[in-house]
Symmetry: C2
């Protein structure tokens, strides 16, 4: 629902401190945080009593359209998953499938409190159409792969430029386009150098997979005589505008390279566990001052896009991996899913915290539930007890996308129906 002004009254606000207060939203911005805002000052008043307000959650690595492949194959080796299921499906994929899958993903993200995400896939103008319609904020990139083939490389350049020209900064600025070289093991050095040059030239960011599996690290060592981040550093690819997804297999010197170049990391614990890729040294990176954010990866390797589930799993995985229950506290995990995500996308001046002057991207959770009783330590409950379905109301760019779990911006039944038909068409 679009209003000129919205008041969220008497919610527990996860801000610079955690306290009960009220928030006034005017147009797309947060304009007041105060205990005594008059209800008459707003077109719409949302009662926040018994509820917790967080910055809209930020998912820094996903492939929206892969929702169509949710549950297609599980419990199989990574190679089987890719070669026998995912790649054959992607061989047949068209823009209409990508649109339907992305729309389903957007509806799912709204229902679980995500307001901003970072996507990499194909047919990005179709994805952008879904994002525009969903009211969400997204950074999208065309996934580029050349495997050393010059012809293929030129096509990827052309498509990337086409998408940037067509979609960057559209939908009232909610949609940004990045360059998306898939990974060092699928992209030639020529492609990566072009990406670095174009990113500088056009002022767009870079989204890439790095060191998800041990196997790909060995491939890079064999072909380039250096570990992936060492190689990327040698070819001057790295910078503070690069977001690297996964970062599972990292040496200490690679972590120093990441830190020194201010590369942003997206940690995807559920996908890494499900595909048995390995455990990223997240606590160690945070200690070094590296910006680590959270991603769900695609629904085919998760199998959902619920950042609340991802937050809990991230904390649990660091604790058990290091046999230290103090690692990755609730506070740190909430930062990963909010402000660190904003920094990862270069959007920290606009989103990621609840502050006057920032965009009104907000997630309101209903804590009046049996599994959130007794009402205590909001950060602990948020990370360790809550789930996506506790999200009650979602606001993005000042627009109410969902209220009392009813999605206004999309027709959920139609979205589900469209996705069922697209999945049927794609996989039959």
């Amino acid at each position: 629902m679009e209003y000129q002004s919205i008041l969220i009254k008497d919610a527990i606000i996860i801000g610079s401190e955690i306290k009960k207060s009220s928030i006034l939203i005017e147009n797309d911005l947060i304009t007041q945080i105060d205990d005594n805002i008059n209800s008459n000052d707003a077109d719409e008043v949302i009662n926040g009593e018994g509820k917790v307000l967080t910055p809209g959650l930020i998912n820094t690595h996903t492939h929206l359209s892969m929702t169509l492949m949710r549950g297609l194959a599980d419990d199989v080796p990574l190679n089987t998953w890719l070669n026998d299921y995912i790649w054959p499906a992607e061989d047949n994929i068209e823009g209409k499938h990508c649109y339907a899958g992305a729309l389903l993903a957007c509806a799912e993200m709204i229902k679980s409190g995500t307001t901003t995400f970072n996507d990499m896939y194909f047919f990005i103008d179709d994805v952008a159409k879904a994002v525009d319609e969903s009211g969400l904020r997204g950074m999208l990139s065309h996934g580029m792969i050349d495997l050393g083939d010059e012809e293929k490389r030129k096509k990827e350049f052309k498509e990337s430029i086409r998408i940037i020209k067509k979609c960057h900064n559209t939908a009232d600025g909610r949609i940004k386009i990045a360059l998306g070289p898939h990974a060092p093991y699928t992209c030639s050095t020529e492609l990566l150098r072009w990406v670095r040059r174009k990113a500088d030239e056009l002022g767009v960011r870079i989204h890439i997979h790095v060191s998800e599996t041990e196997f790909e690290v060995e491939q890079i060592i064999n072909s380039h005589g250096a570990r992936p981040f060492e190689y990327l550093n040698e070819i001057d690819f790295l910078g503070d505008d690069v977001l690297a997804a996964h970062g599972v297999w990292l040496s200490d010197s690679e972590m120093d390279i990441i830190k020194n170049n201010q590369v942003k990391l997206s940690h995807n614990p559920i996908s890494n566990m499900k595909l048995a890729s390995g455990v990223s040294p997240v606590s160690k990176m945070i200690d070094k001052g590296i910006n680590v954010s959270l991603g769900t990866d695609g629904a085919a390797s998760n199998n959902n896009l619920d950042l609340l589930e991802e937050m809990k799993t991230a904390a649990l995985l660091q604790k058990i991996q290091n046999l230290d229950s103090t690692l990755l506290s609730a506070q740190q995990v909430v930062e990963m899913a909010t402000i660190n995500g904003a920094k990862a996308l270069g959007m920290e001046k606009e989103i990621g915290t609840i502050e006057v002057g920032k965009k009104a991207d907000l997630t309101l959770l209903n804590f009046h539930k049996t599994h959130l009783t007794p009402y205590r330590h909001p950060l602990s409950h948020l990370v360790y007890s809550a789930q996506g379905s506790d999200v009650d109301t979602v606001i993005c760019n000042g627009q109410i996308l969902m209220q009392d779990r009813e999605v206004f911006i999309l027709d959920e039944k139609e979205v589900i129906q469209l996705a069922e038909e697209a999945a049927q068409d794609l996989l039959s």
Copy 2:
């Protein structure tokens, strides 16, 4: 709601095969599974279209009343958690707190699809009152600790016998009492020998914590010159009526002891991760033919009682620990949470599968959700995509406890209010 007969029509049934069919419940039993049961034959008809019916989920290790301590302390070392938070709270605990906490736990379990659980705590007659009122099926035990003190030991004997006499086989047989020696490191050999003798004499089962932490294993080695399961075997404590919770730190020869004595294991992955206790060798035990089931542990170390979350985490943890994505398949995890749980409690003739002649303990999940679209592979969606809030309807012992997410058997608001007051009273 109590009806003489209930028909669940056209649901996907997770039975010996997975197929769409209908189920007739008469009184407390499943009496027909057939595509063509006439709706006129039932007092109540539940439309199962777009829904998935599983056996009621079984939680084989928890401490219900600890819901009051949910979020009391997180991200701290185990010793701090116990010494500075949990034990001081438990020093003040009374029957009224245990009742309120157990009632909250029962409401939470109903809302997330659990119909049977295995509890160990104090003031068990107060807990039993809550279980009776909630309509759930539970095995309860008074947690016995003597730390070698004879006086304390005699008190524990007396309390255990009192609870068995008062509560065993009450609430239409829904409540069973077991003997609950806390753990080998907190109970003397005398206490454990008495438990074994009484269990045989009274025909009740045994519920015990074993080898949750490496520290306690070292303690047993120091005091008894053998690892915990070796020691328990030497004193003839083990048998097919023993359910051991955790079993994290196990040698190969201990796994053989578990197998040979048909001891049942309860795996609690989230608690083990959150407290950084370690990873139980679950896949290895299942390969050896050991019956491994699933538990949430208490809400203070989880921090909820959602078995669907536990199922996903169990699968993810085995895969990542062994870097093998094929381990602990969705099918195996569903078995852990249903039939293996029934076997763990000696109830496999009554519950744990959907079969004619078994008790009507059933969980119906609504799959018409964005995060469960496309509608595909019910087992995969159940384990990897669903969450507790997708549970729509819960039936236990032929009685509808919740329908369309509305709990009939308890007043949720009152339960939450009572728990808030009890937590306030206990911890202030």
